[in-house]
Subunit: 255 residues, 2 copies
């Protein structure tokens, strides 16, 4: 199996290294990620901007853990977005033939992508581009933003969930948004996207050059904290959420 | 009626000025747009980056047309993305109270946002942020990328479509993606998102500093050119497409 791994937190992050180790036993792994973090990029693409692509060698490794991945997988970095990563992989590494990639996995994101956060997620943006190309895609995220979050308990779950979803078969135009709580785990559930929104999103800020403006911040408001079938409910109750995500955004009910 | 206008092509563009002129008779218009174009930004937000906000005065106007809009509407520019524009407007111009904005319109985009292009569209990214906040939102796009595209024939249609959608009432969590063909018009239709994908998306490129990489390009492949209920079919047959777009991306059928 030919597996493409990408993310939005950049190279060498704990989430990426955990995902690469977890996927290695399942097939031939190619990693292509934004060199530095590109969080909140949604499905943004680099229009009118040169996208770089560089393969890392053992000499480039910043840590022993990264050296281990570079030694066993093809690893590339770019200045592009997560969505660009999938386009770069298909066109520069697989001769434009998307059928040569059997699976795209993205993450493990430092921070969950449940509820409306899916809209802003570069992790899931990459999955949606893969879905456009008919490639099965799964995004993995952990409900912990810190750089040194503990991903170890997820390592055995990832191949298990991946095998299960591949066995079921991927519906055309659908990918998966998998969100894990901070351990220990109390189960796994299929969920829908919780309704919610962000408020108080700007903090006035002056940078080191004296430029005035705002930094993004905010507070998430859950519109349905009691609904047991949502991704947010899962996270709040120690369960892994598996949400099927549709590329076609048409509201058929209204139509 | 309090109306917020944003776009992804930037200030002073023909599409923006046409939209502002068309909306002015409907209420009090505030324009807040990325100072320079930010195409292909999807719903990307500026995480960890200072967002500027500056009100334009008559002296800032670059053309007579822009001076006319600045003289009759509040006009702001930012270095942020289209999604940022909506967050900036709510939090910096309306005291964080999203209920004070009655309608958000975005565009008119130079180039259509039908089919999978919706995924990459900053025009529609802004609408989805407004939808998160419960604000009725409509994105307008024209099937012509050129800077001097002819938007004039759309000017009477925009208030008409807007009034019609407002009269019907906005369903919670749903906005509209309106795409217009190059005139003359042969009607208006409610549509679904056409299935399709981009291929041959990279062109090798060396910039003026000798940096090597790729520029985004590509060829759109329509998976269902004969389906008469799609947005792409409308554009190909001279009709305006009105697609209801859902913020909740869960695939309920699969669930």
């Amino acid at each position: 199996m030919e597996i493409l791994i990408t993310n939005d937190d950049g190279r060498g992050t704990k989430g990426l290294l955990t995902l690469a180790r977890a996927m290695r036993p399942l097939g031939r792994v190619t990693v292509l990620v934004p060199e530095n973090g590109r969080s909140g990029m949604s499905s943004a693409i680099s229009v009118g901007r040169l996208m770089t692509l560089r393969q890392l060698t053992a000499q480039d490794a910043l840590t022993e853990e990264e050296r281990d991945i570079i030694g066993t997988c093809r690893v590339y970095v770019t200045n592009g977005t997560p969505a660009d990563c999938v386009k770069l992989a298909i066109n520069a590494l697989y001769d434009g033939d998307d059928r040569r990639i059997d699976l795209t996995v993205s993450g493990i994101n430092h921070g969950h992508n449940a509820s409306v956060n899916l809209l802003y997620s570069g992790t899931m943006g990459a999955c949606l581009v893969a879905t456009e190309h008919g490639i099965p895609a799964i995004g993995f995220s952990l409900d912990d933003h810190s750089q040194d979050a503990d991903f170890s308990f997820m390592e055995p779950y990832i191949p298990e969930i991946t095998r299960q979803l591949l066995e079921e078969g991927f519906k055309n135009g659908v990918c998966y948004n998998v969100n894990a709580p901070i351990g220990p785990l109390h189960g796994v559930r299929r969920t829908r996207q919780c309704a919610g929104h962000w408020e108080k999103e700007l903090a006035p800020h002056t940078d080191e050059h004296g430029n005035e403006g705002y930094m993004l911040t905010g507070q998430f408001i859950n519109h349905e904290p009691e609904a047991e079938d949502t991704d947010m409910w899962c996270l709040a109750h120690g369960m892994v959420s598996i949400q099927p995500v549709r590329l076609d955004m048409t509201d058929y009910e209204l139509l």
